[in-house]
């Protein structure tokens, strides 16, 4: 049983905790979270003629995510254009996540197995691109893959090809760009997980006649799984909502959800549809995060059990 003085102390501590956090919470309420609730409201309104909304309840914006009205007989038909944008977003984000893992894992492993003194240096090499403006990195990759870019110039000069490869403004260009800009987000959590990995487990595995593949598959991957999940989330979430990279490398034709949302607030002049699309994106991302939390918690329970 806690004494009265103790109870009072805990209450005071709690009050202080809330009080000190209040300025941050207020700022976030105005600058981030509150506006998200308004987006939900807007998704149930009618589009205004010149942008913004007209106040009247409607489910059109939600229907508009998947369906469009036929211009001739006003029936609802599946909006193929919208579906292809969703499909492209999910496909490219998934491919980006898989590929960044495929090359990011060996990289993280390499860094984590360097001698202690060198490790900071290699890690620093990953951190510089991480903190370099995403716009600049996208410009850089654009410079490599565009028609008169380095890659084509080099291949033409070598005689491998006789006309420039048309990479820029394709899905592939967006994939290459996203892999490039999001790779550090995969490597850093993987490194954190591998860094904690007890290398003696490998010795034990080899002593028991495990092959390299078995060691990787049965010992390393299960143990660093939290890092794999964290890295995948950190890549998948921003990739799914990507705007800058597809805009520069996709050239307006290869739109992803982010660009499609922007279009509704620009030329599309359909703010409610933009709002319903935003809420949809948010729901997908939240679902991905919840899966992550569940996995992370389950692993913790197993470790402590």
């Amino acid at each position: 049983m806690a004494s009265e003085a103790e109870t009072r102390q805990v209450a005071a501590s709690t009050r202080a905790g809330w009080l000190l956090s209040t300025p941050a919470l207020v700022l976030l309420a105005f600058g981030a979270i509150g506006p998200l609730l308004i987006v939900v409201v807007y998704s149930f309104l009618l589009p205004g003629k010149y942008g913004n909304v007209e106040w009247g309840f409607s489910l059109d914006a939600w229907r508009g995510i998947l369906f469009t009205r036929d211009i001739f007989d006003d029936t609802l038909v599946l909006a193929d254009a919208h579906l292809s944008i969703f499909w492209r977003s999910v496909k490219l984000s998934t491919l980006t996540t898989l590929f960044t893992f495929a090359v990011g894992f060996p990289t993280a492993w390499f860094i984590a197995t360097r001698p202690q003194k060198q490790r900071a240096f290699w890690l620093f090499l990953i951190t510089i691109p991480f903190w370099t403006n995403l716009l600049i990195r996208t410009f850089a990759i654009n410079e490599i893959i565009r028609s008169e870019g380095l890659l084509n110039t080099l291949l033409l000069w070598l005689g491998v090809i006789d006309r420039p490869l048309e990479i820029i403004y394709t899905d592939f260009a967006v994939f290459v760009g996203m892999t490039y800009v999001y790779l550090p987000l995969m490597v850093l959590p993987l490194f954190a997980a591998i860094d904690r990995f007890d290398m003696r487990l490998l010795e034990a595995g080899y002593d028991l006649y495990a092959s390299r593949w078995q060691v990787l598959r049965r010992i390393i991957l299960p143990i660093v799984k939290p890092g794999i999940i964290a890295g995948s989330i950190l890549v998948f979430v921003p990739a799914l909502g990507a705007y800058v990279t597809p805009r520069i490398l996709g050239g307006g034709k290869q739109m992803m959800i982010g660009n499609f949302i922007e279009l509704q607030f620009g030329q599309g002049r359909n703010w409610p549809l933009g709002a319903s699309l935003s809420v949809t994106l948010l729901v997908i991302v939240t679902a991905a995060l919840l899966v992550y939390v569940r996995f992370a918690n389950r692993d913790r329970e197993v470790n402590h059990g």
């Binding site: 501590s13 709690t14 905790g17 809330w18 009080l19 000190l20 956090s21 300025p23 941050a24 919470l25 700022l27 976030l28 105005f30 600058g31 981030a32 979270i33 506006p35 998200l36 308004i38 987006v39 090359v103 060996p106 990289t107 492993w109 390499f110 860094i111 197995t113 620093f124 951190t127 510089i128 903190w131 370099t132 403006n133 995403l134 716009l135 600049i136 410009f139 850089a140 654009n142 410079e143 490599i144 380095l150 490597v187 290398m199 490998l202 390299r212 990787l216 909502g241 705007y243 800058v244 982010g258 949302i261 922007e262 607030f265 933009g274 935003s278 994106l281 948010l282 991302v285 995060l289």
Partner: protein, 267 residues
């Protein structure tokens, strides 16, 4: 060195893959830097060394204007974020876990979890209403938005610093009749300072880098350096933009090096 024997941590193909990754990470950036010194007007081939793009960018009033605006927003937003994040970090660490602590934690980290485009759209809608209601068109909107999404970047290093801090020093100060304020001012704050500087710098870089939220929130004529650069690239004006990129890249490297030196564990 020919035979290094069997190493348990070696996995076939991992080292070459890692090397390729490092080359692939740096080659495009270095190309961009190289082209910013290229004398030729076309970026297709290198035609000699020049600083003319830097000079041209420096003389460009739009660039000056956008740079100044970016810096003002970043300094104000990062300062505000650091102050409120410090208070929040003091409030959420080093005390008994209290009801709502997880809620506070989730709210503070919310900008890291919501896709930027969604926040951008939300702010566009919200601020459009406020603009109509108040008629105010100034930089306040951008500063508010930037300060909000900078909070988690400031909060995380400050919180980490606080959690690693020795509580006995504060008890000692209290034993010597220091008031809570004196304890904070002369014991906690100096110990916390490296974390706060680290937090400020992360927030500053985050604000300086932002494209998407700025693009949606800014009023006409409120370009920041990134939105200006994005506009120029769309108009195929590249050399000047590459020169600006090189300068920003240099700045990032300097800030990061300082950050590492500040947060480095003393062995």
């Amino acid at each position: 060195m020919a035979d290094r024997g069997f190493s348990v941590s070696r996995l076939p193909g991992f080292t070459p893959t890692a090397m390729l990754v490092f080359v692939a990470l740096y080659l495009p950036i270095l190309m961009l830097v190289a082209f910013s010194f290229n004398a030729g007007k076309s970026v297709a081939s290198f035609e000699g060394f020049t600083l003319q793009w830097f000079v041209k960018a420096w003389a460009n009033d739009h660039v000056k204007d956008a740079t100044l605006r970016s810096l003002v927003i970043a300094v104000v937003a990062a300062s505000v974020a650091t102050v409120v994040a410090t208070a929040a970090a003091l409030g959420t660490t080093r005390r008994k876990a209290f009801k709502g602590q997880t809620f506070i934690y989730v709210v503070i980290n919310q900008p890291l979890m919501v896709p930027e485009i969604v926040t951008a759209v939300a702010l566009l809608i919200f601020f459009a209403q406020i603009k109509v209601l108040t008629g105010y068109q100034g930089l306040g909107y951008l500063v508010t938005a930037h300060a909000a999404f900078c909070i988690p970047f400031a909060y995380l290093p400050i919180r980490a610093r606080l959690e690693g801090m020795d509580l006995t020093l504060e008890s000692a100060a209290a034993d010597l009749y220091a008031s809570p304020w004196q304890t904070f001012r002369f014991v906690t704050l100096p110990l916390l300072l490296p974390g706060m500087i680290a937090g400020f710098m992360l927030a500053f870089v985050t604000s300086l880098d932002d494209v998407v939220i700025t693009l949606f929130v800014k009023s006409a004529g409120q370009d920041t350096l990134p939105t200006y650069m994005l506009g120029q690239i769309r108009r195929q004006i590249t050399t000047e933009v590459y020169a600006i990129s090189t300068v920003l890249l240099g700045l990032t490297v300097v800030l990061l090096t300082a950050f590492f030196l500040l947060t480095r564990k003393k062995d």
